[in-house]
């Protein structure tokens, strides 16, 4: 291995990707025909998150050494990073064709296929990678991802736990296992996993964000928030109708509900770890009142408003149905409306997530 290559490898390992890229650019200027230097440059740039430049370097390497597997594997990784999943699959398949016994090539192919939505192909490639290198955590992680994408949570957990046996501090695996637990309804475990993931790599925002959201959901809880929204809706109706006494009573109920909400939130928050408490303490007020699990248009309407709309439209409809003498059609329409609201609130995020439009 050349001095520049070894030095760059060391710098990459130390997390100094930009410095490694500088060393390699200098070496490439002196010897532009060296495919291994272009590959290392692509590797360093990819780690620095500069996918387009990494792709250019990998393509230069592929031109220098078209029969070498590594440049194509690097192309696949860079293309996947750029969101070009189909082209990434093509590059990864080329890498596998050139080195069918290379576990890393199969792993990249599995990741590319998963990104392209080909779950069956991804599973096959990950299993082949696992056969070739049973000591690597990566294929288990990818198999977990495939199972998670298909909502097979038990299977995902199994794969992720195996990956963690091999690489116990992998932030990505801890986080994804947390997501599997969350979707499976095991929120307590999910929170613990997100916290472990945040500890494994405090600089990574993904696990921190997930930890903050699940902890906020836990602290806030849906029942009291729903009751408060319901009381607020009735209060609004009473005020509009000029019914001052009921309005005053409802205002009292609402105030009591808010007090219960605040006290219970504080009590629950005090049981969280100091790091999580700090994380929640840093949230702005609009995130503090949030309930991510009930936020379908999460970029647009905060969950308390959403709850208010849902409850208001339902109760309003039921009152109209009552005034119409419990007309069966009106009641049916209202029930359908409620079901639609609930389904939309709970599952539209899943639908959006599956399309890759949102990540949580």
């Amino acid at each position: 291995m050349s001095g520049a290559g070894a030095r760059a490898d060391a710098l990459v390992e130390l997390g100094r990707h930009e410095q490694a890229a500088d060393v390699l650019r200098e070496a490439i200027a002196a010897d532009p025909e060296r495919a291994d230097l272009h590959c290392r440059l692509a590797f360093a740039l990819e780690h620095a998150g500069r996918h387009a430049e990494a792709l250019a370097a990998a393509e230069r390497a592929a031109r220098q050494a078209p029969d070498w597997e590594w440049p194509h594997r690097l192309r696949a990784v860079a293309l996947a990073g750029l969101g070009k999943a189909k082209r990434a699959v093509g590059a990864a398949e080329e890498a596998v064709r050139l080195a069918p016994e290379e576990a890393a090539a199969h792993e990249v192919l599995a990741d590319s296929r998963l990104a392209a939505g080909d779950h069956r192909g991804a599973r096959a490639a990950a299993e082949r990678s696992r056969e070739l290198d049973p000591s690597a955590a990566g294929p288990h992680h990818t198999l977990g991802d495939v199972a998670l994408a298909q909502d097979r949570f038990g299977e995902a957990e199994e794969h992720y736990r195996r990956a963690l046996e091999l690489d116990p501090t992998n932030q990505g695996t801890l986080n994804n296992l947390g997501i599997a637990m969350l979707r499976w309804g095991r929120e307590e475990q999910a929170r613990a996993l997100f916290e472990r993931a945040a500890q494994a790599d405090p600089a990574d925002p993904v696990a921190r964000t997930n930890l903050a959201r699940t902890s906020r959901n836990h602290v806030n809880g849906v029942a009291v928030m729903t009751a408060c929204a319901f009381a607020a809706w009735l209060l609004l109706k009473a005020v509009v109708a000029g019914a001052l006494v009921p309005a005053a009573v409802l205002a009292g109920v609402l105030a009591a509900g808010v007090a219960v909400f605040v006290l219970r939130s504080r009590r629950r928050a005090s049981r969280l770890s100091p790091a999580t408490q700090m994380l929640l303490g840093d949230q702005p007020w609009w995130e503090r009142i949030e309930l991510t699990s009930w936020r379908p248009w999460w970029w647009f309407i905060p969950s308390p408003i959403w709850l208010l709309i849902a409850i208001g439209s339902f109760t309003g409809g039921m009152i109209e149905a009552f005034e119409a003498g419990w007309d069966a059609t009106s009641i049916g329409v209202q029930l359908v409306l409620l079901a639609a609201i609930v389904v939309f609130a709970r599952y539209s995020r899943l639908w959006l997530r599956r399309r890759g439009w949102i990540s949580f």
């Binding site: 001095g3 030095r7 710098l11 390992e13 130390l14 100094r16 945040a198 405090p202 600089a203 700090m278």
Partner: protein, 401 residues
């Protein structure tokens, strides 16, 4: 020295508890002499001489007190080997260490810094802590002995980039009258297996040969990266070698003071933080307002300034909270560039105006913000034993999270 009164008081307290300790009494006399209190020094010497009439140390101090000759502090430990060179500003003496086993020679630049802590603008808290935790015990062997404090252990400076960690380390060497050599990642990172270890060993040997010497390990997160993060045996070897050298330096080699600096303390192997190694951490923060003003004045000192600049500097200092020294220098540079550009256009020298500085301020953002954002997350999730408590307090106070 800023904390001499405190040291004298501590010594007096210790002597009250142990009045028969002649070594301590002589040391107190020395300190009193240095502090310009010869009558009290003489009185202490008389007390010792009354008990031990032939005590050499007491006689020497008494002689100096009577003769008015100023003694060196704390029996000059560590004593500079070539005191005549101290007057020269930061003389750089390149040393060449020839390796018998082949390979490249190790070049180590050995300086004799003349800067002192008082030359460091601001950072009062850092200076105070350095004096109490590091320099005080170094300069006062008697006191160290009295309190059973060993010289084991190094000091790790951490904080955002551009805030003067290297300058502080150099000033520590200046305070100790020691030589100074800095080691960076590029000095040792040659990844032929075994080469890095050899280079590191040679650098420590160079420091030992030049004792008293401050060996400054810059970017220690690279030299002492967490081994759990590493797969490459070469770098792991470097970390192991560093641990071995530190243990060696702290036990067998008096006079080698190892300081380290890092912007990423969370990446440093925990083994390096154990007692006897870098067991003390010191946070070096961006300059406070008076220090910022001083830095701005220093950077504008030799540039043509319009009349409206002088009153603007204090306001600028107030508006540059969390700017590092390097950021402030860059701000002045940007303002100077604007004035120079205008001068080139008109063909007449136009001095730097308050407006230039205002524009430069808008263009220059504090480089420390990104560091604080990252550091905050580590301080939250990796604050074992409260090691980042001070950092958390600063971040909260300055609303940097």
């Amino acid at each position: 020295m800023p904390n001499d009164d405190g040291v004298v008081a501590a010594l007096e307290g210790a002597l009250e508890r142990d009045p028969g300790n002649t070594a301590l009494a002589v040391h107190l006399a020395e300190l009193l002499l240095v502090a310009g209190r010869p009558a009290e020094a003489l009185a202490r010497c008389r007390e010792v001489l009354a008990r031990e009439p032939g005590h050499d140390g007491a006689l020497a101090v008494a002689q100096q007190a009577l003769g008015g000759e100023r003694a060196g502090p704390a029996a000059a430990e560590p004593e500079p080997a070539e005191p005549e060179q101290e007057a020269e500003p930061a003389t750089v003496v390149p040393l060449r260490v020839v390796d018998g086993g082949g390979g490249d020679d190790v070049d180590a630049e050995i300086e004799r810094p003349t800067v002192k802590l008082e030359d460091v603008g601001g950072l009062e808290d850092v200076k105070r802590k350095l004096n109490t935790a590091f320099l005080g015990p170094m300069r006062n062997p008697g006191l160290r002995k009295a309190y059973g404090k060993s010289l084991r252990g190094g000091l790790m400076l951490y904080g955002p980039p551009g805030c003067g960690k290297t300058f502080v380390a150099r000033a520590v060497a200046g305070e100790l009258g020691a030589r100074f050599t800095a080691v960076g990642i590029n000095d040792v990172l040659d990844m032929y297996i075994g080469e890095s270890e050899r280079k590191l060993h040679e650098l420590f040997q160079t420091a030992r040969r030049n004792a008293p010497c401050v060996l400054f390990l810059d970017e220690v997160d690279a030299l002492g990266q967490k081994r759990s993060h590493l797969r490459h045996s070469g770098i792991r070897g470097t970390v192991n070698q560093l641990l071995a050298e530190l243990d060696n330096a702290s036990s067998a080699n008096e006079g080698v003071f190892v300081l380290a600096a890092t912007n990423h303390p969370w990446d440093v192997d925990t083994a390096l933080r154990r007692p006897g190694r870098f067991d003390r951490m010191l946070l070096v923060l961006p300059p406070d307002e008076p220090a910022r003003e001083a830095i701005l004045r220093l950077n504008l000192r030799e540039r043509p300034l319009a009349g409206d600049v002088a009153p603007e500097i204090a306001k600028l200092a107030a508006r540059t909270r969390t700017y590092s020294g390097a950021d402030l220098a860059h701000l002045c540079e940007t303002a100077a560039e604007a004035a120079m550009e205008a001068s080139m256009e008109t063909g007449e020298l136009r001095p730097i105006t308050a407006k230039d500085l205002g524009r430069a301020l808008k263009e220059t953002k504090p480089s420390t913000r990104a560091w604080f954002e990252v550091a905050y997350n580590y301080a939250m999730f990796a604050n074992e034993g409260g090691q980042y408590d001070e950092l958390l307090v600063y971040i909260k106070e300055h609303r940097l999270s």
